[in-house]
Subunit: 388 residues, 2 copies
């Protein structure tokens, strides 16, 4: 049965590609290294208006892609990753707004990343791919936004790593960002978050098929699957896990005690791991988690987060979830506090939910209403500002 | 510098061994399988009094051993795992009490486990070792306590999996347990706890050196190390991790960004992983985590925890820690509630600390005082009861 939000769909969509930074005009990365050519896979939903002031850039999280809404084929089992929030009449209302989503550099869903061919060697980059940062991801998106002829974005929005990019956009390109929606995110990952990313990477490195990053068709499936399993535990709240799985067994009513998996929660994690391997590249997982670890918005601003926002011109909507322990509410509150110290206009809501970090992906009226109302008010404000 | 508690030491101690259940008199396990001969490695501290009513059985956690206090050699870097609490004048006061600690069956520190020789094949058990449960561990200890000539234990005490054993003792052998100290534990592991144990096991299974459990000297070091790293994250609170490691780098003042480990928290985890491989067997890790997963105190009592305690004769001290998210305070409160429903005498304290699950191992005056006072009162009560 389709939910109400699934019926209001953007329909069949197609991923597009934009290539830039052809040598010798490579993009200079934060590390000083050069990367080019760069291809960004992206999708758009809705129509750019003549004033070009209704564009919203959606930023995806660690395992996301450019495919944020609709279906590629009528028989696709699932729609894009944020379909609950993007479409006609939805929070990101495609009847009003022009919504863009691009796969990050370093990714593996059409954009240039470690699985791409290195033009200088003719072989897969693998670990020769340069380290990319959240700032680099945003800088690459800047070229796409330029290419689309958009001078100012109505909003930049994302959850988790997507929220990091949204915040970075508002700081890196202050004149281009009218408003910023940062959900379930942080200005810098916690030590615990880094620790979880590191054990996930080790799971990949420990897989002999990983082979120092040089794998062909024999991908490090077991390692990547385990990395995803570890990740999934951190996306769910303990309470949600208890309610969803409890101590139930997958098959027998009574456990046949052995070392093999049989608790329902174990089957669920294994299923998530196996599914992930079909669509994600292990090296991308390594590079992107590292980008998340290194992200520190205040790094270039004397270690004071409020200073990072000083030049920002956006209004902000910051949202956290009470049971999110990977990006806990305190991380959002730190952002809100810094924005207020910096004199910015910020709306903050800590949404009560059992859904943990995953809550930013799941349909919820309260999240939809908050985004929807914020955007309406921001769209009105942007229109007025332009009249003046 | 030695802490005050380290100066008051039980001194140089020696692990002893007790072997029983020689074929054809094997011990029948909960699964119905037979195990024998069984050796238990154990240590004792203090002196059993003539009334034999001052004996306390200490239960260790997942990675513990019989070596709970003192040092084996004068130049040992570290004392036994609960040295902060066991010794002259300490919580488990060896001037008054006779303290026993034995390595669990399934373990790898002297007791019979998967790394032991299977007498029927002459080879290491490996995965031919039968599944053991918390109940089986307790049943094996019963033979040791019998062997030591003790009819009634003044107390059974432990944290984490040790707490599970302590609770099980009070239910399995009600006449033999005067009091029970259950710290940072649960009557049944949460779905989240099972999930973490499962990803740790997968880390081991994914190591090609594990080889279906049949490894020789080439142990699955990378897998076991990763399992320990995952575990360690769950033993610390997010706040403690933040304060201990923050986002600091191990060496450079500024990160040289690459995929290799360099955050301090990563170095810490790797160090813990490597250290663990030197002293622990991978198959034991698999078996013991499974015993923890399967533990469900109310399973044989119609799924009602209070019923499980109905025949128990012990007084209880239940202790949890506010930042323990692996065995959260709610798990302890569930035990306390069931004990009260069952009409038992129970003291409960939720200790405020930043130390997470690890708090049960770390020196803390409030934990020491609570155990110490409870034992004094229980020792007095036991003496009086016997006079009557």
């Amino acid at each position: 049965m389709k939910t109400f939000n699934e019926i209001k769909t953007v329909g069949i969509v197609k991923t597009k590609f934009f290539t830039f930074a052809d040598p010798p005009e490579e993009m200079i990365l934060e590390s000083g290294e050069r990367l080019g050519p760069i291809t960004l896979a992206y999708e758009t939903y809705g129509t750019l208006n003549s004033e070009k002031n209704n564009a919203i850039l959606i930023e995806h999280a660690l395992s996301g892609s450019a495919h944020a809404a609709g279906r590629h084929h009528p028989d696709d089992k699932y729609p894009g990753w944020w379909d609950a929030y993007i479409g006609p009449g939805k929070a990101f209302d495609t009847d009003k707004y022009f919504v863009i989503c691009s796969n990050v550099i370093g990714g593996c869903s059409g954009s240039t990343g470690p699985a791409s061919i290195n033009p200088f060697t003719g072989r897969t980059y693998a670990l020769d791919f340069p380290m990319v940062t959240i700032k680099d991801m945003v800088n690459a998106q800047f070229h796409l936004v330029n290419h689309l002829g958009i001078k100012k974005l109505l909003a930049v929005a994302g959850g988790s790593m997507g929220g990091m990019q949204a915040l970075q956009w508002s700081v890196s390109y202050p004149h281009m960002v009218n408003s910023c929606i940062a959900i379930a995110t942080s200005a810098h990952l916690s030590a615990q978050g880094i620790a979880f990313n590191e054990v996930a990477r080790q799971a990949i490195f420990n897989d002999p098929r990983w082979n120092g990053g040089n794998y062909g068709r024999e991908v490090p499936a077991e390692g990547l699957s385990l990395a995803r399993m570890i990740g999934h535990i951190t996306y769910l709240s303990e309470k949600h896990m208890h309610e969803k799985f409890g101590r139930n067994f997958q098959e027998a009513s009574k456990a046949s005690r052995n070392i093999n998996s049989e608790f329902t929660v174990e089957s669920y994690l294994h299923y998530q791991g196996i599914k992930f391997v079909e669509r994600f590249d292990a090296n991308s997982y390594v590079y992107i988690t590292r980008a998340i670890d290194y992200f520190d918005l205040q790094e270039d601003y004397g270690g004071t987060l409020a200073n990072a926002f000083d030049n920002a011109e956006a209004n902000y909507l910051v949202i956290s979830f009470t049971t999110d322990w990977l990006y806990p509410s305190d991380s959002s509150k730190e952002i809100v506090k810094a924005l207020r110290v910096s004199g910015k206009n910020v709306n903050y809501i800590d949404i009560v939910t059992d859904n943990g970090h995953d809550a930013f992906l799941l349909p919820a009226e309260i999240l939809e209403k908050n985004i929807s109302n914020f955007l309406k008010s921001e769209f009105a404000r942007l229109g007025k500002n332009e009249e003046v």
